[in-house]
Symmetry: none
């Protein structure tokens, strides 16, 4: 058993979890740094595993999730992102309104602008 540390209800802290994941794959800090293509430095990963950093950037977690083959969203939650509200949002299901396929960014931009125009007109 590893030495006891603060326990969060429902599991380990992010650092413990990351440490465990790395142990499971048997990689060294620098090997992970390599595997992430220098996106996560070994020094930083060390700090992460020792819980010295509260909220690493999503880029970091994304890269680590890739190396450890675990869920990026899970790491985000363990890092305390969106911690206050309910976990999974079902907003995506509602986006179906006006789901025009193959909308280019320029078109979306133009439509947003036009919508703002319409609503501004109606506002008074």
């Amino acid at each position: 058993m590893p030495p006891t540390e603060k326990k969060q209800p429902g599991g380990s802290t992010l650092g413990e979890h990351l440490s465990l994941l790395r142990a499971a794959t048997g990689l060294t800090l620098r090997q992970v740094e390599e595997a992430t293509d220098k996106e996560v430095s070994n020094a930083y990963l060390s700090q992460l595993e020792k819980d010295k950093i509260s909220k690493p950037s999503p880029n970091i977690l994304h890269a680590l999730a890739g190396v450890y083959k675990t869920s990026y969203e899970d790491l985000m939650e363990r890092a305390g992102y969106f911690g206050s509200g309910l976990s999974s949002n079902k907003r995506r299901a509602q986006v179906a309104t006006f789901a025009v396929e193959n909308l280019t960014p320029e078109e979306e931009n133009a439509l947003l602008k036009y919508l703002a125009f319409i609503r501004e007109q109606r506002r008074k």
Copy 2:
């Protein structure tokens, strides 16, 4: 007809997009601050919309996505998270669908018509 404004080829910046979203809902900076329960200050939102901040934290984007009823993942991509593009490619076409939910039938109709107009124009 909204004024034509050309800036970035291939789409607007995160700031422009956020600005358009807010315009579409007709909210003021401080109203958004209220709506996010002080999670996004009006001053900060202003900086965001003027592209003075490159990578706002996911918390911010999550809160804004909630207020504007748009896709959080879309905002994350626009903010350049996971920008290296390996994992984002397959989602592209689908996320590009228009992501505003509060459309009235009349608005949807008007937007469809306007979209048709735009595409007609480009066809030439």
